[in-house]
């Protein structure tokens, strides 16, 4: 191939954005169509620089909006290339219409989403509003809690999305600023090993295969629409999960780093746990360890794959607990939080006695401190001892003014 390789040190100090850009270089993306937006800008900037410096053989397409960026990705993917881009927040929101096109057309695009709040009021900082907005779009969603995972999950996302039994697009999420702009030691994979893990792109039904003409994005109406959507859902429910497990296993063999659909920390004999996503999982782990050292049986559960939702794994992780706190970093705007609802749905038909309460935290980048988490675990301990939720079902953490609680 006509590009240069980069010699990486075993551990590089990278932030989440640069880690994702390096992964995009190593898997040799054919086309990136992008409209940069804070805090994800350095990802596509990084790809563009690698391309300009001769480390990638590909195309960077500059477009006039995020809607056009994803449209360009869809065109390039349908044509038969390995395609990726990155976005955040308002850009993600503008992309939504095309996200459904990408998944409905079964195009294995990888989208790095650097999670950021949605306006109004305008805010460039991290919360999970955009990530939550994507959860019905038919994409696979992986969530990274730090820069290392943002790097690793990109390889896994390509491997799963491009599998011919899947052919669905995948998002790799990381927390805006908290992960995207936080530099940490990242254990690298060599260029050859990284590329070989994902393998050469094998197109299917590609439009540039002129010997086998196909049409993409056709009108189906009532006659066939439902069958297409049902097939897509079926593949998400049945085909994706085994491929994710295979990819996680292969990745562990390559690197020694083990990923799971649902990550469990200190959960073996835990009576109390919080369930959360993003960088909060790691902060919660530190607090849980502190409390473990004091003899309190607490654990942390992190959702690694948001879609397809790991229903069975969530049941296995949570059913024997006495109290669970579901932490949502997105305003549910008139309902319980997404994690509260999904967990409640998973546990409802089991014989669990766990008391489940929900918390909304960290909107617009508001800090989730260890002190918040200590108080939260304390409250969950009261629920565990009482055998029921002793507070209202939904509470807000870290917001100024009088305490907010509902339901």
């Amino acid at each position: 191939m006509a590009f240069d390789k980069l010699e990486l040190r075993d551990i590089e100090v990278w932030d989440g954005n640069f880690a994702a850009a390096q992964a995009m270089r190593q898997v040799q993306i054919d086309v990136v169509a992008a409209y940069p937006i804070t805090p994800s800008t350095p990802i596509v900037e990084g790809y563009a620089k690698f391309l300009a410096d001769g480390y990638i053989e590909g195309e960077f397409v500059m477009v006039e909006s995020e809607h056009a960026a994803m449209s360009g990705c869809i065109g390039a993917s349908a044509a038969g290339g390995r395609v990726a881009t990155a976005t955040s927040s308002q850009g993600f929101a503008l992309m939504v219409e095309t996200l459904y096109q990408a998944s409905g057309m079964r195009l294995p695009i990888v989208l790095n989403v650097v999670n950021r709040a949605l306006a109004a009021p305008l805010n460039v900082n991290g919360d999970h509003s955009d990530m939550y907005l994507g959860r019905d779009s038919g994409w696979i969603q992986f969530d990274a809690y730090n820069a290392q995972e943002a790097y690793d999950l990109n390889f896994i996302a390509f491997k799963v999305a491009e599998d011919h039994s899947v052919r669905l697009p995948a998002m790799v999420h990381q927390d805006g600023f908290l992960t995207s702009h936080t530099a940490q030691g990242v254990k690298t994979i060599t260029d050859d090993a990284a590329y070989n893990f994902v393998g050469e792109f094998k197109p299917m039904n590609d439009m540039l295969d002129l010997d086998h003409p196909v049409t993409h994005g056709v009108q189906a109406e009532e006659d066939w629409h439902f069958e297409h959507k049902a097939r897509q859902h079926r593949d998400l429910m049945l085909n994706v999960v085994p491929r994710i497990h295979e990819a996680f296993d292969a990745f562990e063999k390559l690197t020694g780093r083990k990923y799971n659909m649902v990550e469990q920390y200190n959960m073996d004999d835990a009576e109390i746990a919080v369930v959360c996503m993003g960088s909060s999982v790691e902060t919660a782990c530190e607090v849980a360890q502190e409390l473990r050292d004091q003899g309190i049986k607490v654990g942390v559960v992190g959702i690694r794959v948001i879609r397809p939702f790991p229903f069975k794994e969530v049941i296995d992780a949570l059913k024997d607990l006495k109290a669970i706190g579901a932490l949502d970093r997105s305003s549910p705007n008139g309902a319980p939080g997404m994690l509260f609802n999904e967990i409640a749905g998973a546990l409802f038909n089991t014989d669990t006695k766990a008391a489940l309460s929900g918390y909304v935290y960290g909107l617009g980048g508001r800090d989730l401190t260890k002190e918040h988490l200590r108080d939260l675990f304390k409250e969950l301990k009261v629920n565990a001892d009482a055998g029921k939720v002793t507070t209202q079902l939904q509470q807000f953490i870290g917001v100024r003014g009088p305490k907010l609680a509902f339901l």
Partner: protein, 185 residues
């Protein structure tokens, strides 16, 4: 766990400084974290950057910090922002100023009784690099005060980190680091 908070203005290189320091420390087998908060702040706005260093993986992502070291790389910030917020008794300050430590404490009584060192990183940067980018000299001063690494080892590593810059600029940065190391009091 060693924790450092930088007070800077956007554009003065605190983020680059924090990341550079993390990179050097990482080569010695320690775990590092370097991050900053500037949101959509424009050049010249007050901002903070942070380092965490530990023997074991750093999982804490809270922004809240009781720093062991506080670096101030813009001289006016000691008057316009509260650089002492969330400090502790043992916190060590390294502050960029044209004043000596005694004069600084007289002009900002908040520093009375605290461990304060001063060095004029702005002047050093102007005289060596030719621009008021006070980040690398601050790291030279930090090496002197913390005795973290031998200054030659530190400069060798910084050369690698700055390698993308023209040789003249790299050399000037090495001079700036050494001068701040020698001049901090």
């Amino acid at each position: 766990m060693l924790e450092i908070r930088w007070h800077s203005r956007a554009g003065q290189g605190a983020v680059t400084g924090a990341k550079g320091l993390a990179d050097v420390i990482s080569t010695t087998g320690k775990e590092v974290q370097a991050f900053a908060f500037y949101g959509s702040a424009k050049r010249g706005a007050a901002m903070t950057a942070y380092n965490r260093v530990d023997e074991k993986p750093i999982k804490n992502h809270e922004k809240y910090m009781n720093p062991d070291y506080i670096f101030v790389i813009d001289p006016a910030l000691v008057y316009t922002t509260d650089v002492t917020i969330n400090d502790k008794e043992s916190t060590t300050y390294i502050i960029t100023t044209h004043m000596n430590t005694k004069e600084l404490i007289e002009s900002q009584p908040k520093f009375a009784g605290k461990k304060v060192y001063t060095v004029d990183c702005i002047k050093i940067a102007q005289e060596t690099i030719g621009r008021a980018i006070p980040n690398t000299p601050m790291l030279g001063a930090f090496m002197k005060i913390s005795k973290m690494y031998d200054i030659e080892f530190f400069k060798e590593n910084m050369k690698r980190i700055l390698a993308k810059l023209p040789q003249k600029i790299v050399d000037a940065n090495m001079l700036a680091i050494q001068r701040a190391y020698d001049e901090v009091k």
